[in-house]
């Protein structure tokens, strides 16, 4: 077999919003760029995003600005966010949305003809730019078409559209190559033929998205196997905050085959209410103290809010996701769930059928086609589903450079820090654009000052040998069954509510699967062979699960996407700690690291009484760092 080889300035792994935005930035700066993705071009996970992209444009309520958005993001993340990422995100998000419009995106409009913005959980003002409930499709298609536009430009100027910007679809990267301690490229295989492929490049941007497939019930597609998390670990980079996973409160629960599929938060943003099997609107019981002054404690006020947001508090259905997910979990555990183990979510009483079909068209379609439920007439049944990983590659906020590995960058869901312990809805889509662009800029700077770093034959052969291995074995373990075993463990022992004892059990069991997975064998040949593909994906998921379980067992408090039954409260001392995962070739190791303190000018954006709920008295006394 002859090895397919390429040389580029930058290789971007991932064609979701983050990867495509990074690629555009690097190409615009004159570099040659390869975009590599596991699916066809335009199918990355970003396409599934529904609700919208958060940016404080202030089109609907002009009280909004980056400072309000920053505050909401920090509150949502329970102040565990890297402040600098949250700051950059809040400041730059509007420009990134307007830029999409210049590239052809058509968002829904306000009466004045501006981009319309909708309400979402945890956002003080209507802030989410959207297109019905298919915002992710608009984002990815716009970026895809922008890539094509740049290729057309290259075609006109050089006669070759793909000379300096090429998409390698249906290619899986299995290793980041390093030479002399620095990034030298990426290695992988074509899914279609099974043949191996080498990219030599001094800079690699990881934009591989999330890890949902590690869990049994998830809104993620097969692509969400934590590849970038594992690739980064194996390349010597760190992961931060891996204990924090977002369980979206509203996934479908019935029929079984669609369990986990997302029901967008816009349903609640548009006025959907949650009730239990007794007909109680239960969210009023679950407003935590830190949010009491922002959320209505009675239905009358909650209903008035939809008409007058300046003089009423918001309905508790719009609390941050972790709160709503835990509330639903408690209701079901207390025996007040629906027949299929969820709760009811209803918009039919507040909005007319016509408005529902217009504002939530894909939800209507999804329930009608897959569950036989007409949401303009009936309530939906919903329950928590594993949705988003807050943890990810530890990066320098301004450049998205991975800490510890020269030439490596990470952006989008695969990067950690931005969302702290819990992400607000809508903040991901703008995160992709803000930090995708910054990763592109970071890579450009790096390539300009470092130049090429070719990979040695020995390095390439080592990467190749790993791909051969599962075919060489016969009669070994089946990747599908090991994956199912892993999903059972994470679901039961590392899920929405955790305990020390269960996490300990999980860590042992994951180690056992990892041992057995070294013996996976594959049937069939290399050509488009899903069993072979899963063997690699599984290895990544195992590392992610190990990192999550090991970080979770150490964090003895409950915060955002990490709830410990044995340590139920939030603890200000723990807020100052990040868990950093690294990989020694055998196992994941965790160390505690101090969270960067809020600088004074950001500290001063908050009412000190609010900060007292999160910070220690020493931190408050200091009043932020210089």
């Amino acid at each position: 077999m002859t090895l397919e080889k390429y040389k580029y300035d930058v290789v971007v792994i991932g064609a979701g919003g983050a990867g495509l935005r990074a690629a555009v930035e690097a190409r615009d700066a004159g570099l040659s760029v390869a975009i590599v993705c596991k699916s066809l071009f335009g199918k990355a996970h970003t396409v599934m995003a529904e609700g919208g992209a958060a940016a404080s444009m202030g089109n609907v309520n002009d009280n909004d600005n980056w400072m309000v958005h920053f505050r909401d993001t920090m509150r949502g993340g329970k102040f565990l966010n890297h402040y600098r990422m949250a700051e950059l995100h809040a400041k730059e998000a509007p420009d990134r949305i307007w830029e999409l419009e210049m590239w052809g995106a058509l968002f829904d409009r306000t009466k004045e003809g501006k981009i319309s913005q909708r309400n979402f959980g945890g956002h003080e003002y209507p802030r989410l730019a959207h297109v019905g409930d298919r915002t992710g499709l608009e984002l990815i298609r716009t970026m895809q078409q922008r890539i094509v536009a740049l290729q057309q430009k290259d075609q006109r100027e050089t006669g070759d559209a793909e000379k300096n910007l090429k998409v390698f679809a249906e290619v899986t990267i299995t290793e980041i190559l390093k030479e002399n301690g620095k990034v030298a490229g990426a290695y992988g295989y074509r899914r279609e033929s099974g043949e191996e492929i080498l990219f030599e490049a001094p800079a690699v941007v990881i934009a591989t998205g999330g890890v949902g497939k590690t869990f049994k019930i998830t809104s993620n597609s097969w692509e969400g196997t934590g590849d970038g998390h594992a690739l980064a670990l194996k390349a010597g980079a760190n992961l931060v905050d891996m204990e924090f996973l977002q369980f979206h409160p509203t996934g479908m629960v019935w029929p079984l085959s669609v369990k986990g599929i997302l029901v967008t938060e816009s349903v609640r943003g548009e006025g959907g209410i949650l009730t239990n099997s007794l007909g109680e609107r239960f969210m009023f019981k679950y407003i935590p103290d830190v949010f009491k002054d922002k959320y209505a404690d009675n239905p009358e006020e909650a209903d008035r809010w939809y008409l007058d947001q300046d003089n009423n508090r918001r309905p508790p259905e719009l609390l941050p996701r972790d709160e709503v997910a835990r509330a639903i979990n408690s209701e079901v555990k207390a025996g007040r769930g629906t027949e299929h183990g969820g709760v009811f979510l209803d918009v039919s009483k507040r909005l007319s059928a016509e408005v529902i079909k217009k504002r939530l068209p894909s939800m209507w379609h999804q329930f009608y086609e897959l569950a036989g439920v007409d949401i303009t007439k009936e309530a939906m049944e919903v329950g928590p589903t594993c949705h988003y990983v807050m943890g990810g590659v530890e990066v320098e906020p301004d450049t998205a450079a991975a800490v510890g590995v020269d030439g490596l960058f990470a952006a989008g869901e695969v990067a950690g820090g931005m969302h702290g312990s819990n992400r607000l809805g809508g903040n991901s889509l703008t995160d992709l654009l803000v930090f995708g662009r910054r990763a592109g800029m970071g890579a450009v700077e790096y390539v300009k000052s470092h130049g090429a770093n070719p990979a040695s034959d020995a390095t390439i052969q080592k990467a190749s040998a790993k791909i051969e291995a599962p075919f060489a074995r016969t009669g070994g373990e089946n990747a599908y069954s090991l994956h199912q075993e892993l999903q059972e463990i994470t679901h039961n022992l590392v899920g929405i509510i955790r305990t020390g004892a269960e996490l300990k059990e999980a860590i042992e069991k994951i180690a056992d699967i990892r041992k057995r997975s070294a013996n996976i064998s594959v049937t069939g040949d290399r050509k488009f062979n899903p069993g072979f593909h899963l063997a690699f994906d599984l290895d990544n998921m195992l590392l992610v699960a190990e990192s999550t379980a090991k970080s979770a067992i150490l964090r003895e408090e409950s915060r955002g996407g990490h709830t410990r039954d044995d340590f139920p409260g939030m603890n200000s001392t723990w807020r100052q700690v990040n868990h950093i995962s690294s990989f020694d070739g055998e196992k994941v190791n965790i160390k505690a690291q101090e969270l960067p303190a809020l600088p004074k000018e950001l500290f001063d954006l908050f009412d000190v009484h609010e900060l007292e709920k999160y910070m220690t008295s020493e931190e408050i006394a200091k009043g932020g760092s210089k």
Binding site: R109, G113, P255
Partner: protein
């Protein structure tokens, strides 16, 4: 609740292949994609199929089910009778790579041939003001999930490989229409080039594309016909004579 389902799945590659019979368990509420996954996990570890979202949003799982172009993730098995054997084959208009996976690169080539959006010079980010009614027409076409079912079903290329060179297909007619109706795009003559360079003239408005579109985009009524009408205003309408030269859609399977 469980039932036993009889399937015939096409297995093979670009050289050879055949329909294979399988029997598999199915549960209430499952879709064809679930069944394929069960076959994959229990009987045919190397069965090739594309999918992503499992919710009709990404357009990856396009295939032909009992001869009809469909999304496997949106096709309920309850739509088929207890005794019925469900036949699952790859998209016919595109070359097979393996099993249910086809080479759809034709579509990406066509995307590259359509000139990108062109903004008015001097327009700055944040400046555009557009009314909802003005964006809605293009928004309908931007709902497209690129499942390529319309491309697969269009008789102009379904059985006529030779037409592919000069025919962009319904997916890209709506792309041209989208840009043509886009309030900010200033590139002129999109309708004319649709006719002259992208093969709009081959289309004889059979509406088969509209029928299979899972997004219910009115491809013919809202994109193709308006573009044709306005082209016809400008020059002699070739649809009629082309129509007679192209064979009617044949019965499939």
């Amino acid at each position: 609740m469980a039932r036993t389902l009889k399937l015939r799945i096409w297995r093979g590659d670009d050289k050879t292949g055949a329909l294979q019979d399988v029997t598999v368990e199915a549960n209430h509420g499952e879709v064809v994609l679930d069944i394929i996954h069960r076959v994959q996990a229990t009987q045919m570890g190397d069965l090739a199929v594309r999918w992503n979202c499992k919710a009709g949003k990404c357009g990856s799982c396009s295939m032909e089910i009992n001869g009809k172009p469909r999304l496997a993730c949106m096709t309920q098995i309850s739509a088929y009778g207890e005794e019925e054997t469900i036949t699952i084959t790859p998209l016919r208009a595109f070359p097979v790579i393996k099993d249910l996976v086809t080479d759809v690169s034709y579509n990406y080539k066509k995307a590259m041939e359509i000139p990108a959006m062109e903004m008015p010079a001097g327009m700055k980010p944040g400046e555009p003001r557009m009314q909802q009614v003005d964006v809605e027409r293009s928004q309908e076409f931007r709902k497209c999930i690129e499942c390529f079912l319309c491309q697969n079903t269009c008789h102009v290329i379904r059985d006529h490989e030779e037409n592919k060179k000069s025919f962009a297909g319904p997916r890209f007619f709506i792309r041209i229409a989208e840009l043509d109706m886009h309030p900010l795009d200033i590139l002129r003559n999109r309708k004319k080039t649709a006719q002259e360079e992208h093969g709009l003239g081959f289309c004889n408005i059979t509406k088969c594309c509209t029928e299979v579109c899972p997004e219910h985009i009115k491809i013919t009524d809202n994109a193709i016909i308006p573009m044709k009408e306005r082209v016809a205003d400008e020059k002699y309408d070739p649809v009629r004579w082309l129509g007679s030269k192209i064979r009617r859609r044949e019965e499939v399977l």
